[in-house]
Amino acid sequence: MKYVIIDILRNKIVLAYTIFLLLLSFMLFGLEDNTTKGLLGLLNILLIIVPMICIVFSTIYIYNSAEFIELLVSQPLTRSRIWLSLFAGMAFSLSLAFLIGAGIPLLIFVPDITGITMLFTGLLLSIIFIAIALLASVKTRDKAKGIGVAILLWLYFSLLFDGIVLFLLFQFADYPMEKPMILISTLNPIDLGRILILLKMDIAALLGYTGAVFQQFFGTLWGQATSFIILLLWTLIPLWISVRRFNHKDL
């Protein structure tokens, strides 16, 4: 695991990612006169760019270190241990990149509950998309195909899912959809994260009745604990499936 961390930290792309995040967030907070605008800009980055970088980078990294993994498998190490340390290494280094890149500006400019929620959501989203990347790369042998699958998954979570939700909303427009929407939003970590952050910001008032229903659920301690657990499940389930796959995989 240590080697994975060191290897990734030395990687130029992770360094570039950190600096990119750092520059962008300082720019956003510096350009706008009120921090809400900066937060909204950062929210866009957090919901679109962070998952994309995490999923694409992790997939490519796994394929690139295929030979290294083969070497490790020949050592007296269990396969699940190898796989988990790969995950832990990537999760640690990309989270660190996010913490430095977006966390520092967040803590400087908005050191309140909104900023902290945003930080946590960002971290969880990073880890979730690494887990999904592991699942994508363990399922396909071909590198090009694997990266394609990863990008498709990202597209699905950040764009197609919302399209489907909108379609459903219009199909069932005659029914009260507020409560089912809570359930549906848990099916997409990006949506769940976005709603959690929006409810913490004062633009929550714009969300109207639906927002009030969500606030009633996510505003409580129980609701927040639930959403946190759901986000964790989004990490654990793909990871667990990928470990099982890797254990039986013919390398």
Binding site: S158, L159, L169, L206, G211
Partner: protein
């Protein structure tokens, strides 16, 4: 002729000499305001020195001047209507009125005007009153420089700051009202002017108009009220130079206009409201030279509105510029500055060459299906808005500003 004039002058002077000063002092013979009122005749001045007076409900039936020196406190002990005015030409100034009764049967007020004219109420401090200053069938009254503070917790247990019912030609100037249900409430009030008041932190509306026509409100500030300002079922209302800000919350509006016609909204500032102006069933309204900044919706115009002209306003950093609920548009937008406008100006006449459509696609979607608001700020919705700008399909065809300004107006 000269003799007659002299005679009149003499008579007047005699009248002036006749007007007495009665001083109420807690250590003197006249210890209560009630005693003084019994002694007084029309035209007298009652001077009340500092102290606490528990008068169990004062009723003024003579045209007198009631002046407080160093703000004497008149305590209603949570049971009485503190001062009731039942005579014309009464002046009440410099008093501190506290703790009126609270009732769901009677509208107890700090100072209440019953069926009188030319009453002046100025420079008073009202604290913890149910209704503050109440005018019932008053006309030509002046209410100025008063400070009204209450500490209401819910709408049922609270009254309005300045409440006018069936009154005419009222002047309400330079008052500060906070913590009441409605800051200023008008019902069946005509030909009145509300100016330079500050209404903040009231539970419901900062200003509430019902069935009140030919009124103006100028240079007021409405800040942080539960639901902003509501103007309903009225016509010929003029709203100039007001500041509407921080009406932020579910169902909060900068101004809510319902069934209004022939009115003007000019040179106002709308900053940080959930909905800056909400129009429903409004006709022939001019919206000019206003600044809309950082609102959730700058304007929500329901399809039931007609002949609304929106000319020469600045729309700056609002989440949605305009929202509407139908495709029928009978309103005019022109020569406004929209910060979201992305067009060009080839002939350099400071007017954009392509029209601006202030209704974004997502605004239309949300109006049709409010639950879709949950996709707010997602990647897809911004993508939608971009494509709709290129190929308009869902947004109302006629709702556009054909000559948007390239630079913001100096307002």
């Amino acid at each position: 002729m000269r003799a007659i004039l002299l005679y009149i002058l003499l008579l007047l002077m005699a009248k002036m000499v006749d007007a007495r000063n009665i001083t109420v002092h807690q250590q003197s013979a006249i210890r209560t305001i009630r005693q003084a009122l019994a002694l007084a005749k029309d035209g007298d001045t009652i001077r009340v020195t500092a102290g606490v007076y528990r008068e169990k409900g004062l009723v003024i039936k003579k045209s007198i001047v009631l002046t407080g020196i160093n703000y004497p406190v008149i305590d209603g002990e949570y049971r009485y209507e503190v001062i009731a005015v039942r005579a014309d030409a009464v002046t009440i100034e410099g008093m501190k009125v506290i703790n009126s009764g609270i009732s769901s049967m009677d509208d107890f007020a700090g100072i209440k005007i019953y069926n009188s004219s030319h009453v002046i109420i100025r420079n008073n401090v009202l604290s913890n009153t149910f209704f503050g200053i109440y005018s019932q069938l008053g006309n030509n009254c002046v209410i100025e420089n008063n400070q009204l503070t209450s500490f209401s917790k819910n709408e049922q247990q609270s009254g309005n700051g300045i409440h006018c019912w069936k009154s005419d030609s009222m002047q309400i100037t330079n008052n500060r009202i906070s913590g009441h249900r409605d800051g200023i409430y008008f019902e069946f009030v005509t030909h009145s002017i509300i100016s330079r008041n500050i209404a903040e932190k009231n539970l419901r509306y900062g200003l509430h108009f019902m069935f009140s026509s030919n009124d103006s409100y100028l240079n007021n500030q409405f800040r942080n009220n539960g639901a902003g300002v509501a103007v309903m079922f009225s016509h010929h209302v003029t709203m100039l130079n007001n500041l509407f800000t921080q009406s932020w919350g579910d169902a909060a509006y900068g101004i809510l206009l319902k069934e209004i016609s022939d009115s003007r909204i000019e040179s106002n500032q709308f900053v940080e409201n959930t909905v800056a102006i909400f129009l429903e069933g409004a006709n022939r309204i001019k919206v000019q030279k206003n600044r809309f900044q950082s609102n959730g919706w700058a304007m929500k115009i329901q399809a039931s509105c007609m002949d609304i002209t929106v000319i020469g306003n600045n729309f700056l950093s609002n989440t949605f510029d305009v929202g509407t609920n139908g495709s029928l548009v009978l309103n005019t937008f022109s020569q406004n500055y929209w910060d979201k406008y992305e067009g060009y100006d080839l002939d350099k006449n400071n007017r954009g060459d392509i029209p601006y459509r202030p209704v974004s696609m997502y605004a239309v979607i949300v109006e049709r299906n409010p639950t879709a608001m949950i996709l707010f700020r997602s990647f897809m919705t911004s993508l939608f808005d971009k494509t709709e700008k290129l190929i308009p399909s869902l947004t109302p065809e006629n709702l556009k500003d054909a000559s948007p300004l390239m630079k913001p107006l100096k307002l």
